[in-house]
Symmetry: D2
Subunit: 257 residues, 4 copies
């Protein structure tokens, strides 16, 4: 059978990324307690294509993924990317893994335990001949924010809401998802929990009232924490506050590298 993809292309245009997008796949992620956590990812895999080749071979991406089945963790992304460069004969390879990640958290007073879910993304690229990944880890941390202005000007109460703090980092040394979650929560009015008994709800309510933060405060606070971490070489932090007095969001962003 003819290999149409292998044909010559004379348009002289290399392609930066070509491959498969949003293939859903079960993966395992190692968590800080050293346990492999089962989750489900949307996986995208791309390589570059030289200017004189017509097409890539899409089925090989999925075959490579299948070879790693049950062993797809952030730790062996390097191996998957090397394999892609090898099998597809490319100069570079890229992978994106988008998955929910679970952390067991204790309610602040009762100690009741429950799982919280965090959307994560791991984007990594490798160049042929290199052993060093260019990798970005993104974690979306839902938190509670209470408005300082509303608290200041009101006789009682203060509007508060769910917000999502998105942290993206590049680092020279491994950073746990758990660490980024802790950083985001430390700068919010309060963390979120899946189980809160009455004594916990009282604690969280009062803690948030005592720690009002604007969307600007959160991104500044997180940025200071990330800037002071010697392992982190670049970061971006965004916060989207789903305002409880509006039907739109408040938003702020800082990027430093």
């Amino acid at each position: 059978m003819k290999d149409v993809q292998k044909q010559h292309d004379d348009r002289g245009l290399p392609i930066q990324k070509v491959g498969v997008k949003d293939l859903r796949y079960p993966i395992n992620v190692l968590d800080r307690t050293n346990t492999l956590q089962s989750t489900v990812a949307f996986v995208s895999m791309y390589v570059d294509l030289p200017h004189n080749v017509k097409g890539t071979h899409m089925s090989r991406f999925v075959e490579i993924l299948n070879n790693y089945r049950g062993e797809i963790t952030l730790r062996n992304v390097n191996g998957i990317l090397s394999k892609m460069i090898d099998v597809l004969g490319s100069q570079s390879a890229h992978i994106e893994l988008k998955f929910p990640y679970f952390i067991e958290k204790q309610a602040p007073v009762s100690g009741a335990t429950g799982l919280m879910d965090y959307d994560c993304k791991f984007i990594a690229s490798l160049q042929r001949g290199s052993r060093v990944l260019d990798a970005i880890l993104r974690v979306d941390v839902p938190v509670k924010t209470l408005c300082p202005c509303s608290k200041e000007i009101s006789v009682k109460g203060a509007h508060n809401q769910r917000s999502v703090v998105s942290i993206k980092i590049r680092c020279r040394e491994f950073v746990w998802i758990e660490e980024l979650v802790e950083i985001a929560e430390s700068q919010a009015s309060s963390a979120l929990y899946s189980v809160l008994k009455r004594e916990d709800e009282k604690f969280v309510t009062e803690q948030a009232y005592d720690n009002p933060v604007f969307v600007e405060d959160i991104v500044r606070g997180v940025a200071l924490r990330l800037r002071s971490d010697p392992r982190i070489t670049w970061f971006s932090v965004e916060s989207e506050n789903y305002e409880s007095i509006h039907n739109h969001s408040a938003y702020a962003a800082i990027e430093l590298g």
Copy 2:
């Protein structure tokens, strides 16, 4: 050219609904101030198909829609449905219009005006030979809810959040979208606004603190209002509270007919 759709089908199975789904289309909706409001809808149109016919003619649905271009309002849905029954030779016709609707609202103290957006859905069916639509109007009203338990047990503050109250009604007489919005907002801790000056933010914060409601309170309050309206023959009310202390929602629902 052969009309494959018109061929005989001998499997003996009538089809309840067949047609086009999620065609995006500009429409006009008459609002309470008697102005035609331009918006964009996702339109779905279906008819039934008798057991002995192979297929319907999909292009005719879109042609009918095009004939009403610029004049697609809730008022002439009856005409569109009659035309569908006629042109497609069916016993029944169904249409669904999903669109954002805008209402100009004044901030409660400053009077500053701004537009609020509400997701609406209009679902209507007509039977051949009948002039009476079976129609459901759905309006999703984003509001603010403040937790009575959190207020009661906490020394200061109370968690609050954005919630969406979804009202669906069948009625024997016309009911305005604006009326359903007002009903939902009246049972919440506070309405939402697109523009709030500082004096308004103070007002809304204190109003919410003075009117705590559980998700159960909202659906009960709305249900009582709808039940007492002689124009309304059936309704369903749901509320989804995007809890600001959890990463999941609180939810309640009542249906009465």
Copy 3:
């Protein structure tokens, strides 16, 4: 601390469903090869609330879920629902699990294996004092459809596209997700695969060309298969074809019970 939820409500309105919605949680699902499959679900849990009680206790829903951690399978949904009725003192309990499910499939010629993902939903209700669930299983099966009209009238080729066949069933005896997938695929122009080598792509292309189906044909074919299965007491089948010649879908639906 005061239990605000337990207070008396004098509005005389019972609530049909109240609880937690869209809590993301890792679950295990037993598959046909008798292996427990790890996946991630959005879980919703509701109970009814009598007319004279102000509110339910939201944290208890999540505590019940946590007690089943690692053992949440479709098989012990009955136990979870009984526990909910018990703990929350309700007359009925409802649970909804929405999750991706993976099936290993072999490419039709090369035999290359790969995982295919299917969106599933399991909705179950239990009444106090009963041991019989009212349960609905929904499976969304992506398939390929090739248009019979386009094939008939064209000198060469025929438009085809990805479609999603959604099957919902109530049954008196257990039916595997794998069985519903097989039924949907059997009525399509072709099944989908995650890995196809060149010889497989040829096979699938020609198979689809030889088996053109309208959206009407798919729902009729699936309905006939489901109707003839003595285990199934009610079903609904929908197909949405993401037409490759339009930017909207073709849709058909049959419900029989």
Copy 4:
């Protein structure tokens, strides 16, 4: 009332973007036939914030938007951004408008007319003291792609599917949305239409069969067209093909500046 936002911040961190996100708003867009088209946008507006100021004034963003009500077009984005810099005392201002855009298209044989919808995004930034916008226009063009490999190796037929070609451009002179749509469609196997009579369906089917393109071909073809346009100073082109033989996408991207 105290202006909390105006307070001093001593953390020494400027914020690159702060403001309101995803405010839904009716807008008008001038189309190539010189008609103002009514549509609905999600609007985001941001400014920078100096290191020593605690917060921005969120309500002012919406007030500025309201002042342009009924006149929000791509043409007066410059005025809106100047106003933002002015009113909020910032060094830069950013706006993003995300909206569906409609083009009337004629079916290729019958000439039947119908509206096609295209998702568009306009992102613009202005620096204080400058009159020159940095603007990016993005248009998502749904098209039909037919696989050259499938055609070559199969005795009959060829798999084809809906694909979305996303073009982003920066330009020194105005480029119409209609022009980008035309460029994307010219490189696909066929354009899409909302209405196709039988003779049109035959035409489109055969045209696609005669013009097979890989995802690589589309992005290369579009890139060549964009590169040769002297008005365009930078572009990115992506294509996502919703493969009709897989449940994932094929994807390719080229960026040139």
